[in-house]
Amino acid sequence: MVAAIKQPGWIRGALGAILGAAFGFALVVALRKASGLPVYQTEQTGYPHIVVPLVTGPLGFLAGFGCFDYWLRWAVGMPTIPEDHSQHGAKSWRDYFRFNTDHKVIGIQYIVTTFFFFFVGGLMAMLIRAELAQPGTQIVDAATYNSLFSTHAVLMIFLFVIPVFAGIANYVLPLMIGAPDMAFPRLNALSFWMLPLAGLLFIGSFLAPGGAFDTGWTGYAPLSTGAPLGQSFFNLGVQFAGASSIATALNFLVTIITMRAPGMTFWRMPLLVWANLSTSLLVVAATPFIAGVQFMVLFDRAIGTQFFEFAGGGDVVSYQHIFWFYSHPAVYIMMLPGFGIISEVISTHARKPIFGYRLMALALIGIVVLSYSVWAHHMFVAGMFSWLRVPMMITTLLIAVPTGIKIFSWLGTLYFGKIHTYSTAMLFALAFIVTFTIGGISGVMLGMVPIDIHVSDTYFIVAHIHFVLFGGSVFTIFAGIYHWFPKITGRMYDEKLGRVHFWGTLVGTWVTFIPMHWVGMDGMPRRVADYATQFGEWNILISCGAFLLGFCQLVFLYNMVVSWRFGPRAEANPWRANSIEWQVSSPPPVFNFPEIPRVVGGPYEYGVPGARHAIMAGESVEAPAETQPTVVGST
């Protein structure tokens, strides 16, 4: 028992959580007692005796679980326990529930955890659509409805789309650049373990007096500064998810910049690596803004600062400026890694070099730069200075240009290729081009101020964001999961079930989200538990589409679980791809490479005679002719 308490792990973690929470609680009680205040403050925004333990409890868990052991020992001068690599790899499923610094284990932890939240958030979407299937109130009351769509959005954004990309990249990116691991493995593990804590805080808010946060994922002040306790759970959950995200982005940046295999110049990096480089640049600079603004809301609520309280000299609209300064770049944080996945999948399955590789990489950087200058297009009707609208409109529309470059270059990649569509990954990649084009087009329309004035905060917006986030990001996530499933699990998935999942998801996406454009333009506002009867027929159709969509995800789940356990063994390189992760076994060896590979050419040299991307350990080392990308002039 004593040994179990000394050993990092679940028992010490639980103890840490209890001690941390108790410390926070005692601190509040003692300070309030000493100040002569009533011990418990239970105005709806207050509850310091709950809010403070919500910070100290999770931190206590992380400390107990072992996330800080090495650093703490070093900091207090104790002998550190040298990494003997015995923790690397996972021998049984139990190893995935430990503090593990192996990037491949962490990648799987990320992916499985985020898909858990995908299904929880999806279940909430099903409840939402069940309520909206008919006008009137049938299943949940208006307040619960508001909590449901708020939690749905927050889980899907902070616990699924953003971190699942981090998970996929965690697994494949070090392999792709020929690195043995990430640059900071302990930080990497800490990043992961903060994530479920954020999820628990978001879901735990349903237990708070007054119910879960119900102000939308945007949490606009002053609705949020006056909302019940659940809002504080949101404010704090965002801190854990944000810290996780920032730490991971730093880790990716350092890994990509310093740990590429010899010979891998920037212009030889696969586009997935470029995409994660760009995404990480966005995360490190933008995410602190949402962390900051949620702290400001929390302080307004709990300690009486008046950042957003106009009666106290605060400024209501400034919340939206700070929030969107993160949250617009965030949509690219949720899209750029997907762009990288699509480039890998399309090039591999079309057996063609990426068309215009350098312009593809530069387009990513262009999106990063432009995305910092478009945030106020979310605020055209918000009452901000009206002169800011036109410049924001122009930058918003211009961001369609680098995005268009990506679409056309993927199409160009298909030409004169040998397109194989047997893989579900390729099907999702091709469908992504279609649905994302639609989402992009509605985005351009929304960027135009006069149109936006009419459709802002209507179902048109709901349609647009689901076309880019579901038809866009989630399709790329599925493409990525199917593409690297053999590499990650060492098993093949069932292509037949994959096709069922694909076609069901494609049809479900269109049936669900296309009619939303129509009802929105015709006058149905978003975020309403009830609506005018004239929209009833479209809404029942939308709900049917949503249920189809939900059901198909169960097919996916079944396919993944059963194939992981019983699927046929995968060979090292089932898609005959060039990049380095496919040149090692499936799953890769515990330390990735017996010897760091040497990179001698671009990653997409399909069809170039004698071209090589990398020379692996033990391969004959006669240097093949270095290939230069040839740019064919138009004929």
Binding site: A142, V316, A350, W387, F408, L411, H420, T421, H454, D530
Partner: protein
Amino acid sequence: MMGRLPIAKMLAATVAMTVVISAVMVPINWNGQGASTAAPKIDQLLSVMIVLSAFVFSLVMVMLFYALWKFKAKPGDESDGEPIHGNTRLEVAWTVIPTIIVLFGAGYSWSVLNEIEEESEKPPLTVQVFSQQFAWSFGYPGKGGAWSEGELHVPLDRQVHFKMHAQDVIHSFWVPEWRMKKDNVPGITTTAIVTPDKLGTYQLICTELCGFGHAAMRATVVVETSADFRKWVAGLKETVPAALMESVVQDTETNPVPLGAGGA
């Protein structure tokens, strides 16, 4: 390389698809009935955008499906495609042409925005809009501020400046038939300019999430002749309550002129 593609046929297919999509989509009245001078201008902008979008969408579809039809690998073919890495002219084209299209869209939108927000020469009618969880009320000029709850009346064919004041959280003022929406923000006065040009009864919808009663936060809007409007206002018994009047005085006007020049 491009010489080996049926460029003319592909373009023709794109144009044909654009025409078909536009012919189906442009006549549909997506935004519903229009009842302000701004509505036809915004609807026309939408129609132009539908045609341009149909072209872009058709181009992508034709390029995608031609490639899938023409370059699909035969079963058992394990060879690679041709090692084509790019084409500078094409890449320049698909950078420059979309830039021109979106800049045209931006310029057009800008001019529409200026038109719909232009102040009329006739003195406008100023109506105060008060929003609170979960109800609307309205103050009219003259006679110490006549006040109506849940029902807004405005005269036909006269520009109305709505001065909006939120009492608690953010609400948003939307009359779909007017194509006009503006947030009501605590602490500041926001303005919306509308010239109603059709008689009728419409609905005012709150479009900013404001709490559990958000979905039910509606008001009736009546557009009537100026004679009827004057009569209706004269018949109002109540005047704007002092608490609401305070927000009119206290709220700061938005849209200050930036840097001493130009703003609207």
